[in-house]
Structure formats: structure tokens, C-alpha cells
Symmetry: C2
């Protein structure tokens, strides 16, 4: 990596990174899969070999975070030890072992005049990833961009500045030693917020920004960006217990509890449960009692409170909330249609599940719920690139354009039409 | 169509259209392909049956355009006669006959825990199309949106207001008679520019805007939009005559002339020709003489002017120009790399062609030219949805995200992950 000089202004620093990324991206488009995979293997080896200095840099960040009074949860997310580095390296090796996402012909046609039209999968070019403290994103994001023949610019949280600098150094050295362009992976080492804002305006040089973190980070990125952004703001996920769940008491209880409680602080945890009126009398009290037994606060509509008096009264605001906590909103609905309308009105288009044995209800739910992930008789917690078998994920999209749901390496590609002929002219 | 009341403010009118489109879009997701195709056939029949009133409405628009002093070319683009309506109807019937772009499983995996993960092609939802005077866009755009199970809002040029109102009335009546939602196709009948600007801000209701027209229209849309936009600004297309074209004199001459002259006013016409120095001495004067013979003004670099003295001097600005006219910029380059760099620096990432018999040069050009359409030994004029066999096109994208190149019905879809299980929980 030829790092921009330290004395540049934020605007010049950002522009220099972007120009280098554009150039590296064009060169990356020609790098064969074998070379990219060798670079990934070198990167995994580098992470293991340089564990000592990375952990030492991390200790400095952790010490600062403690003095700054960061929460124990945030410090935990920031921590990198030898075991964590081993996992990061293993993830990079798994990405190396995946099929090459670029170069495939996704559509082709030989036209009556003899010319061949082919739509081929090609890299996007330059990808900007903006993330908060988890340092494992650094290696996953770099690896997925290399796998998909993209150049990348990585901007981590300022709490992890020294950790990311050490990781970035290990990664870029490994990648360059394997023959990739020097600027294929660039780490933003200037923590000035103005650099990010300038990077987000490099139209024509950076092809997409992918922010990962809390809703306020994502909103700030969208607000500043003039380049395309792929994002998800929040996960207000639902489990709907259908009339057709009358014989599925065990499954309804297990899925609701798993979706809410197994890891409440993540985006694919359930926030609202909906019960069809035909099964609410029997199933709602059982599910709510299970949840209360796990320490969950239940906030319900009038009908919920009649069936489960311990519930607090839910307000309109509760239907929109992503609690990320042991709180759940519960509502009784009159029909499948009402459940779908509730989800499409209040949800975040992330992940929504139905519990039913009625195949027509399942079909209707799948067709009409306008979310990136729709689950039938499965916990919402499975909405994840790893669980889907995509390998590591670069993020999750609740957008509809380009990519939707968990995003793997193939989602970092676009297509190009290639037309080959023998001198055809248009008449 | 339940048209919004005429006395609404621009903001309320736009919001009403958007709410209706969102609702219709959700309903369209469930409409079977047979019903959508029947609606398209009814639409084609409606265009033919109501030709009299549409042509009469068009005559009023044409009369106004003449009084307003519009150019003959613009009036020509505005004109709709019975023959044009017949072509529009035939195009709609062709779209009806295409394969259904929605519902396909594009990827699937059965996970070790037995759950099935499927990525299925689904409609986007609600599409806003903003276009200038050509009324045939009205029927093509409506038909492609219906084919892809989307609701649409169509906003044509104000010169064609009465023509589009008559077309819209014929289309929406036909569509509703076939059983589609009333608001599946909505025509913006209020010419106030504020309505468009408000429509472009309906985040969560309208899923994408596709502007079609001149660069100033597109820039205004991008500037105003808070919803995603798929677009192309301009077509600064290149033909590069490679060192490997030494034995392809006839092909080089024919492709350059066809790309520049066959229809100079359109986006896939060539604007700049590049010659490798090894063949420039012999081929450049022949090609330039051919072009001059067709009335083309040649603007060249120093080396071009030495070989073809009739050429005017090109400035830096000429390399960036989309002339849309009988003018061409010509440059001699030292290498294939220099040609690729020129195209990636000055081009518009639309369509670029190489003429060569060198397979390695062709491969390098295809891999490194960062454009949506790359042609080998074919005229740039073939960059077109119809020529590619996609059927009618909703537009052309020079963006990289979501869709790139000519866009057919399949480009109006997104995907959704559908996960089906038997009560799986995450551990």
C-alpha cells in the first residue's frame, strides 16, 4: 500500500485513496482467480504470523477504551486475541476455497446476424466499507473484496484505530507479496470524520459504499453519500403465528422464544409477535409465559392483555421499535391479510416468519410480505450469510436494488454485456 | 385508475399516487403470469381500438407544439399515427409472449439442518418512469412493468400531455378489465414539475425511478431524488482500431462509418475513434476520408492531423463530448493500454468497441474497459435491448449497481430469500 502522505488535507487524502482504488480496481479485474486465492491464503498466514503485534496494538486500543469509559459490551466487541485471529484467518481461508464469483456467463444469446451477446459477471471496481468497532470485519471485508476482484477502502471505528492499522499492515503486505496491486486493500488511517464524508462523494472513482453498524451511522452515511450505498437500517423482525398453527403448539413456542431470546441484540432477532385470533386464546398465553420466563417484557395490544394480563400496554410506537433487548411487542390480528399488512406497514423489510401447517397461508405470506428474507416454520435468527451457506457476509441489505438480504462475494459483482462478431453493421 | 382529485396540492397528489402504487405493487406480486399476459393483450387491443381518439388527442399536442415553435425533429418524435399505434400494440404483444421474469429460483441450498434456502426473483414493487416526448415509451414502460408484476407511475413530457392522457386512459381501462389492480398503471396528468420532485422523495413507497431523456433531465432527477435512480447520462462511445486490425481494412472502415453515421443522434453512436500507431498510417486516412465523404467533421490530435490534414485540431474537451451529430474526435494511441486508459478516463461507460484479429488484445479490451457494453468486431450501434434479444427495453443503465446496459423486464425484479423448515431453531 502506497499510503497517502500524512500532511494531506482530508479532501486530498480522500481523493488520493479514491484515485488509487479506482486504478487498483481496474487492474484487479484482470487478476486470475488463482492469484486472488493465493493472496487470500497469504493473508490468512499473515494474520497468524503477526498475531503478536496485532494483539499488542489491540491492547492499546482496549486500554484507551477503558479510560474513555466505554461499556463492557463495546470493549468486548473491540477485543482481538490469538484465538480471534485464528478464526479470522480460518474465515479468510474459507473464502479462498469458495467458487470464483466473477467471470461466469449469466445469460447469452446468438443473434440472427451471427453476433454473440453474453452477459458476464465482473467486479464492481472499488468498494468502500465503513464499519464500527468489530475488527473481524476488517479481514472479512478485505477477503470478500479480493475474492470478487474488487479494490477496497476500509474505514473502521476510531476506537479500533491501532488494531485496524496493524491488521491493515498485515493484510496489505500479504496481498502485495502475492502479486495484487499495491492499493487493492487500503485502510483509512486518518480518523477525521471529514475523510469519510469526502470518500462518500467520489463519484466515478468509488462504486459503492457499504456501511455496517448502528442506525445512526447508516443514516449519516446515506445523508452524506453521492455514491450508491447498500445498507440496512434496522431489523424489526416479526413472527406470525397463523390460524394454521393450531396443531403446532411446540413449534410456535420454540420459534417465538428462539427468535426473541437466543441473541436479542442482533438484527435478525424478533421484535413483534403476531397471533391469528383463531389460535390466540390458546397459544398466546403459552408463548408469552415462556418469554416472561426468559425475562422478556411483553407489551401487548388490548386483546393480548386480555389473554395475558401481565403484559404492559403497547403503543403505536412499539410496532415500529427495534428493541435489541428482552422486550417484545405482541398483537392479535383478525386474519392472515391483517398480519401481512401489519408487517408491510411497520416492519423494516428485513426478516419475517410465519408458523403454519397451511400451505396456502405459507404461499400467501411468502408472496406478499415485502421483506428480503421470509421464513416458513423457521426462526428468524437463521437470516444470515453463514447460515445460508454464502460463506462470510459483507453485510445485509434491506434495499431492493442490486442486493437484498445477506450479501456474499457474488453481491460485490455487476455484469457487463460482451458482444462478439465478424464485422456486423446495423442497417 | 382512481385518479387523485384534481384540487390536491402537488405534494398531496404525489403522495396519493405513491400510496396507491405501493398498494397496487403489493397486490401485483400475487398476480399470476397468465393474468398479466391477458392484461397485456387487452392493452394491445385497446391501443388499436381507441386509435381514433388517441390520434385526435395527439393532433392537439402537435398543433400546440407547432405554435410553440418546437423543432421539426421534436414534433416528429411527438407524432402518433395509426401506424405508430399498431407498432406500439405489436411491441406489447411481444412482451406478453416473453418468458415470465418473476418467480424463478436463481439459487438454492438445502442446509445441513434440513432447512431449504431459496433465492427467488420477485418484482421490485412500484416503479416511476419519467420520460420526454416519445409517446411509445408510455406503452413500452407500462407493458414491461406489468410483465414484471410491478405497479408503475408514468410521467411523460408536458408537450405530450393530451396524447399520454389518452394513451393512459386506454391502457388503464384495458388493464383493469383484465383484473389487475386499478392503480397498477398510473399516469401523472398534472404537469406541475413539483409533482415529479415530490414523487422522487417517496422513500418506502416508490422503489426506483428510471428517467429517460436528455442529460439535463437525468441530472435534475438525480439531484431531486431520495429514492434510487437507474440512469444513463450520455453515450460517449469509442471505436478502437487495434494493431491487430492491419488485415481488417474493410471491417475497420465499415464499423467506424456505421458506428458514427448510421444514426448519429442516438446514445450508442460512436463519438471518438482511436487508432493504434502501428496501423494509423494506413487506416486512419482511409477511415477519415470515408467519414468526411459522409459529411462528418473530423477533429483530431496532432498525429491525426499529420495523417489527415483536413482534420481540425481536437481539444481536451473533444475527448469528453457526446456530439450526437456528424462530428468525430480522432486520436492516435501508442498501445492497447493507452486506448483502454483513454476510454476509462474520458468515456461514459456506455459502449466501446475494438476492431482486431488478435485474440489476446480482444480479451484484454473486454476485461479492462469498464463499460456496460464492450463490442469485439461489431458496430457500437448494436448496443440495444432489441438487438440483444431482450425485447423492449425500459432504458439503458450506465450505473453498475442493480442493472447495467439495456434493461428488459428481468431488470425490474429483485430477489427475496425464502427459508422453509420444520421448526429449526438456532443454537
Amino acid at each position: 500500500m502506497t499510503a497517502p502522505a500524512a500532511n494531506l488535507s482530508a479532501a486530498d487524502y480522500a481523493h488520493t485513496l479514491a484515485v488509487q482504488a479506482r486504478k487498483a480496481g481496474l487492474a484487479m479485474a484482470q487478476v486470475p482467480g488463482r492469484v486472488r486465492n493465493d493472496a487470500l491464503k497469504a493473508m490468512a498466514a499473515g494474520l497468524r504470523q503477526r498475531a503478536g503485534e496485532i494483539v499488542a496494538a489491540n491492547a492499546l486500543d482496549i486500554a484507551d477504551a477503558k479510560s474513555a469509559g466505554l461499556s463492557a459490551a463495546m470493549i468486548d466487541r473491540l477485543r482481538v486475541d490469538e484465538k480471534a485471529l485464528g478464526k479470522m484467518a480460518a474465515s479468510v481461508e474459507q473464502i479462498a476455497a469458495q467458487d470464483d464469483p466473477v467471470g461466469q456467463t449469466v445469460w447469452s444469446s446468438v443473434r440472427p446476424n451471427g453476433m454473440r451477446v453474453e452477459r458476464r459477471r465482473v467486479p464492481l471496481g472499488a468498494v468502500l466499507i465503513i464499519f464500527e468497532s468489530r475488527p473481524n470485519v476488517t479481514s472479512d471485508a478485505a477477503a470478500l473484496c479480493i475474492k470478487s476482484s474488487n479494490a477496497c477502502i476500509l474505514r473502521g471505528g476510531k476506537e479500533a484505530l491501532r488494531t485496524n492499522a496493524a491488521l491493515g499492515d498485515a493484510i496489505t503486505q500479504a496481498v502485495a507479496s502475492a502479486g495484487l496491486p499495491f492499493s487493492a486493500v487500503q485502510m483509512v488511517t486518518n480518523p477525521d470524520r471529514a475523510v469519510v464524508n469526502d470518500l462518500l462523494k467520489q463519484v466515478g472513482l468509488i462504486d459503492v459504499a457499504i456501511p455496517r453498524g448502528g442506525e445512526s451511522l447508516i443514516r449519516a452515511v446515506v445523508e452524506q453519500a453521492r455514491i450508491p450505498v447498500i445498507k440496512h437500517y434496522a431489523g424489526n423482525c416479526h413472527v406470525y403465528v397463523d390460524a394454521g398453527a393450531a396443531n403446532l403448539e411446540r413449534m410456535a413456542r420454540d420459534i417465538c422464544v428462539n427468535a426473541k431470546c437466543q441473541r436479542p441484540g442482533v438484527c435478525n432477532a424478533a421484535e413483534t409477535l403476531l397471533f391469528h385470533k383463531a389460535v390466540a386464546d390458546r397459544l398466546l398465553p403459552l408463548v408469552c409465559a415462556d418469554l416472561a420466563g426468559q425475562g422478556v417484557e411483553v407489551r401487548g395490544c388490548e386483546r393480548t392483555r386480555a389473554l395475558f394480563p401481565a403484559a404492559k400496554a403497547a403503543t403505536e410506537d412499539d410496532w415500529r421499535r427495534e428493541y435489541l433487548d428482552l422486550i417484545v411487542a405482541v398483537r392479535v390480528v383478525d386474519s392472515l391479510d391483517a398480519a401481512i399488512d401489519h408487517i408491510n406497514t411497520y416492519g423494516s423489510a428485513h426478516t419475517d416468519a410465519i408458523v403454519t401447517e397451511d400451505v396456502f397461508a405459507a404461499e400467501m405470506f411468502v408472496a406478499r410480505v415485502d421483506s428480503g428474507n421470509v421464513m416458513v416454520n423457521v426462526s428468524t435468527r437463521f437470516s444470515d450469510g453463514g447460515e445460508y451457506g454464502l460463506g462470510a457476509e459483507i453485510g445485509i441489505s434491506t434495499d431492493k436494488l442490486h442486493a437484498r438480504g445477506p450479501m456474499g462475494a457474488a453481491d460485490l459483482t455487476t455484469t457487463k454485456y460482451i458482444v462478439t462478431g465478424q464485422g456486423q453493421l446495423r442497417g
